[in-house]
């Protein structure tokens, strides 16, 4: 039976080549977009360089202070101060280490009259221990160097190339950023910008920061990562952090509630800072709406083409019914035919995705984020094909099955 469906499906596809082209184009184009999106999301979520200990790390990305007053609501939210993380988070009992780093800022510098934009980030000593950066040369700067306020830096591989050119070793050389000369102590493999909490061109000791890191306010421009001794300590560590937040004294009489959470990687990554709505919900909703919109038009298009195609075959439907096909068998046949079409489109989509991903990687559109069609992406692509095939096949097939045999036979 399936062989017979396959035969007729191919014959129908070959009969109206233009319709087939439009259908296949719609399907493969949609799938390509979805697969590239999936490849991107998959890479961002699953590539764990340099935070390889994600399974025992909790990310603190924001703090929100709220107070309801007569004249309205006071809210202050965003990253934390260095003081807050160092004083309150680092003194927690469970975390073995707490990496603290500032958001990256940009500065311009000039090499041989060429302008280079350098992103810099201030970090503490634990940062090198919580995260597993791949050192291509040299080593991280030490706790003593940080305490002494030495002007040392660890730079990314990309920055080395851009600033120093083809020099084989740059350890001990100086790099200028924000009109200050920093001595290079190490070079690490670059982090893609999508890992925004850890991305930077150069990493600097927090003690050389021009802003006052001793300021005792809670809010600032730093984020932190708590490292648990083992996976089983994750929940207690999260609880300990929450308890600390609950006991935290208000820093001003404008506020009466403080919110801040130590989250797992994904929750931390998409944290919006809004207490009422989780960032995860936003992210999922956004991805779902995007996928729905991307799929909606081609699905409607395919439904329309399918209805036309099926109605063209009303004589065949009449004959099949006359010779013993029930409506259910016919619905099944047309859905299978449509699935064959969508899987064909899916195959073209996969090939197109590979070509486009290859292009994106070669053009280095997103630095240090090599995208690829892996098993997850392929699986999601095939699943999408299935949903697409069913969605666009069921309605036309149902309409066709309702055709009266006599009318169907007269239609020719």
């Amino acid at each position: 039976m399936l062989k017979s469906y396959f035969k007729i499906a191919i014959a129908v596809l070959m009969r109206r080549k233009f319709f087939t082209f439009i259908s296949l184009f719609g399907i493969s184009f949609t799938l390509t977009i979805l697969m590239i999106l999936t490849a991107f999301v998959d890479k961002v979520i699953n590539d764990n360089y340099p935070d390889r200990k994600r399974d025992r790390s909790l990310y603190i990305t924001g703090l929100e202070e709220k107070g309801v007053r007569k004249n309205g609501e006071n809210t202050s939210s965003g990253p934390m101060s260095f003081y807050f993380l160092n004083h309150y988070a680092r003194t927690l009992k469970i975390p073995t280490k707490v990496a603290i780093s500032s958001n990256y800022s940009s500065t311009n510098t000039y090499v041989n009259n060429k302008k280079i934009v350098i992103n810099y980030k201030y970090i503490n000593a634990d940062f090198w221990e919580v995260l597993d950066f791949d050192f291509l040369e040299g080593k991280p700067f030490t706790r003593e160097q940080i305490d002494n306020g030495e002007r040392v830096t660890v730079i990314s591989e990309d920055t080395k190339k851009e600033y120093f050119g083809d020099m084989s070793s740059v350890i001990g050389k100086y790099i200028e950023a924000d009109n200050v000369q920093y001595r290079v102590s190490g070079v690490v493999k670059s982090v893609p910008i999508t890992t925004y909490m850890l991305y930077s061109d150069i990493y600097l000791p927090y003690t050389v920061s021009k802003t006052d890191y001793t300021n005792t306010g809670y809010r600032g421009s730093y984020t932190g990562i708590l490292l648990a001794p083992s996976k089983t300590d994750m929940v207690p560590m999260q609880r300990e952090y929450e308890q600390m937040i609950n006991k935290l004294p208000m820093e001003s009489n404008q506020f009466d509630k403080i919110f801040s959470h130590a989250n797992t990687f994904i929750k931390g990554y998409v944290n919006t800072g809004n207490e009422e709505k989780s960032g995860l919900n936003y992210a999922f909703t956004a991805i779902a709406i995007f996928a729905f919109l991307v799929m909606l038009l081609p699905t409607l298009n395919l439904v329309n083409i399918n209805v036309t195609r099926i109605m063209e075959r009303s004589s065949e439907i009449g004959v099949r019914k006359a010779f013993g096909a029930s409506s259910r068998i016919l619905v099944y046949q047309f859905i299978v035919e449509n699935l064959i079409l969508t899987f064909l489109g899916g195959l073209i989509g996969i090939v197109l995705s590979m070509i486009i991903l290859n292009f994106i990687n070669n053009a280095n559109l997103i630095a240090n984020l090599p995208l690829s069609v892996n098993v997850t992406v392929l699986f999601i692509g095939l699943l999408t094909c299935l949903i697409f095939g069913l969605l666009s096949g069921v309605y036309p097939a149902w309409r066709m099955s309702k055709l009266n045999v006599v009318d169907a036979l007269k239609a020719q």
């Binding site: 039976m1 062989k3 017979s4 035969k7 007729i8 014959a11 129908v12 009969r15 004589s315 065949e316 009449g318 004959v319 099949r320 019914k321 006359a322 010779f323 013993g324 096909a325 029930s326 409506s327 259910r328 068998i329 009266n404 045999v405 006599v406 036979l409 020719q412």
Partner: protein, 221 residues
């Protein structure tokens, strides 16, 4: 074999009611070859469609092989048609995307039979209509007479007890028409298949056992 009792068929639109068949009572015996004649629009094809369970009467009962058919579900009707009935249409209704062999096999797809068995039965049916050498052709590569012979092979491949033919020679010249008629007569004679044939051609009708004439939806002979 076929019992039609008080069959009435009314077509309704928002404004008009058309009486297509009016109180038709007909008994067709097993092995009988019956022809139905009448002017265009008199209800011949409607009657044939009702006998073939392709259309339901507005009123009346149909019994085929002693089985009442009024209460059958879509699935049961499909199975009943597949087993008991074979159809031949004036415009052949072959599926142009499929080869002759696949067209003939079609009724067997809705039964539980192996591919090998289907092939064998289809070849036998094609041999009966003299088209063993056209197995791999597509319908568009055949003449009108050949197409109708393929349609006959498709109608008989499942060895139904009844064949309903709606003007099977209507689109053919007299030589081809005679060829097709000879095949039907032989089927009736050698296999005992009950055949009901709608025709405009008096000569063809004369070759059958009995003639029923319709006029304005009523039986006049």
């Amino acid at each position: 074999m076929i019992h039609l009792k008080n069959i009435q068929k009314v077509y309704r639109t928002d404004t008009i009611e058309t009486l297509a068949l009016n109180s038709i009572n007909l008994e067709i015996a097993k092995g009988e070859f019956l022809s139905v004649m009448g002017p265009s629009g008199c209800g011949k094809s409607t009657l044939l469609n009702i006998m073939g369970l392709l259309d339901a009467p507005t009123k009346g009962d149909i019994k085929i092989d002693d089985q009442k058919t009024g209460h059958l579900s879509d699935k049961q009707l499909a199975r009943f048609r597949n087993k008991k009935l074979g159809f031949i249409f004036q415009s052949y209704h072959l599926i142009n995307d499929l080869k002759v062999m696949d067209n003939v096999e079609l009724p067997l797809l809705y039964r539980s039979s192996s591919e090998k068995k289907r092939r064998q039965l289809a070849l036998e049916a094609l041999a009966k209509v003299g088209l063993s050498n056209r197995v791999k052709h597509f319908p568009t590569q055949l003449s009108g007479g050949q197409k109708q012979r393929v349609a006959i092979a498709r109608a008989i491949v499942g060895t139904p007890e009844i064949i309903l033919a709606d003007e099977p020679t209507g689109n053919l010249d007299s030589a081809m028409g005679n060829e097709v008629m000879d095949i039907l007569l032989q089927l009736n004679r050698t296999e005992g298949t009950t055949i009901v044939m709608v025709t405009h051609d008096e000569n063809m009708a004369k070759k059958t056992h009995r003639l029923v004439r319709l006029f304005d939806g009523s039986q006049v002979q």
